[in-house]
Structure formats: C-alpha cells, structure tokens
C-alpha cells in the first residue's frame, strides 16, 4: 500500500514537474506546479508530516500559486514565442543528457543513503500541529520571530512596488 501510494503520487509529481518545464503557457505551468504541490502534500502525509501537508496546500497551493495565477491573468501573459536564436542541440542533446544525469544522481543517492527500515505510513507521528507548534515556539522562537519580520518587510515591499506601479 505504501509503495503503491508512493509510486502513484511520485509519478504524478514528476509528470507535473516535467509539465511545468515544458509547457509554453504560464497558466499551464502554474497549474502543473499546483499538481506537484498536491502530490507532494500526499507524500508529506505518508511521511507523517500532517501539519506540513496541510500548510503545503493552504499556503503553497492555496495562496502562493493563486497569486501566480492572478498575476498571469492580470498581465494576460501569452505563451513564449518559439525560440529563434536557440540551437536545436538543446532539444536533442539536452533530454538524453538530463536523463543520464538524473540516473547518475539516483545511483549516487541510492548508494550513499544507508538502508534503513524504510518509510511506512503511521510509523512517525511527530508531525502533528501540536509537535510542530511546540518546537516552533520553544527552540525555534527566534527564527520564527525573524520570519515574521521578514514577512512584514515583504508586505511593505510588495505594497510599495504595487503603489509605484499604479502611479
């Protein structure tokens, strides 16, 4: 069951990720990216990261990507023009080379990671909101506060940029 779910959602993720890269229209890319995020959220659940899975959906898919889609629609951005100055070499050599690169990488990872007990659903329950919250507000309080400042700065920055754009 675990393996089945993993393979299903991993292939969805890879398929969508490939789609993100190869699609010419930004909207299609963006929605594929949402697909990647949804698949990853399920994988997070398998890894026992409940809170992160929910946050992935709420923050990433529900907020950040909606923002992307919003901007794409607002700009009415079209697809990329067919590449004129780029050589066809990229297309014909790039894909095999990329596959080989991924293969090598997988091999290295496979070799270097110690064979543990493996991942099975329900074995690790340290990812509930309670656990994450406890850690976040004790050990990681300072970084947490720092990110809040960061977010504030980001809001200000975005507002300033958007204001300028309106004028």
């Amino acid at each position: 069951m675990d393996i089945f779910l993993f393979i299903l959602f991993a292939s969805i993720a890879v398929f969508c990720a490939v789609n993100v890269v190869v699609q010419t229209h930004p909207i299609t890319s963006a929605l594929s990216l949402v697909g990647v995020m949804g698949a990853l959220a399920v994988l997070y659940l398998l890894l026992g990261a409940e809170f992160i899975a929910a946050a992935q959906i709420v923050v990433y898919a529900g907020a950040i990507m909606v923002l992307f889609v919003f901007v794409i629609m607002l700009l009415n951005a079209g697809g990329e023009a067919k590449s004129a100055g780029r050589s066809q070499m990229v297309r014909w050599l790039g894909i095999p080379l990329f596959t080989i690169f991924i293969g090598l990488l997988s091999y290295i990872v496979q070799r270097s990671v110690p064979a543990g007990p493996g991942v099975s659903f329900g074995q690790f329950t340290g990812g509930t909101p309670r656990d994450v919250g406890r850690l976040l507000f004790t050990q990681y309080l300072l970084p947490f506060e720092a990110t809040s400042v960061l977010v504030l700065i980001a809001i200000l920055g975005a507002v300033v940029l958007a204001r300028k754009e309106i004028e």
Binding site: V14, L46, I64, Q123, F124
Partner: protein, 103 residues
C-alpha cells in the same frame, strides 16, 4: 501490504524535481515560469527535509520546511510585484529582453 518505501526513493524523487526545476530555471525565458521553477526547486528541497526528518524521527525538518514556505510566500509577494512593475515598464515578460538595467 505494509512494504516500506526505502528512504532513498524519496530522496531520488527530490533530486529529480530539483533537476527539473534547474532545467526550467535555465531554459525558460518567461519570467513567471522561471519564478515557478524556483518554487519547484524549493519544493524538492522541502521533500528531502521532511524525508530526513522521518528518518531521524525528529520534527526539526518540518520546522525548516515551514520556514522555507514562509520565505517562499514572502518571495512570491515581492517577486510578483516586481514582475508587475517590469511588465508595466517594458510590456514584456521575456527574461532576455529585460536583462539590461537602463531603460
């Protein structure tokens, strides 16, 4: 039925996604797509964080992922605002055409 999935599979998936993100970052020319490739890479890294967190039976990896998400949100807000401004000034989203600093 409860065949465990080797941890390395998660890491390989993470590597593949990261590689695809890099490919998109390098080859795409639409600013928004490039931006989305970055998000893809961040997601790939998040996956490996969570996977390691599982392996070590610690929640810390989740915390890092959480921070990555927050930073990604901030980055998206500012980045998209910049894209809006760029588009307004240049009427293009082609990354090659906005490479110079002077108008």
């Amino acid at each position: 039925m409860t065949t465990a999935v080797p941890l390395s599979w998660y890491l390989i998936l993470s590597a593949i996604l990261f590689g695809l993100g890099v490919a998109g970052f390098v080859f795409r020319r639409n600013i928004i797509t490039v931006f989305m490739s970055i998000e893809l890479m961040l997601n790939a890294v998040n996956l490996s964080f969570v996977a390691f967190s599982y392996q070590l039976r610690q929640t810390d990896g989740h915390i890092y992922t959480f921070f990555v998400m927050v930073v990604a949100a901030a980055e998206a807000a500012v980045g998209l605002a910049i894209i809006l401004t760029v588009f307004k000034n240049r009427a293009t989203l082609e990354i090659d055409e906005v490479s110079d600093l002077k108008n």
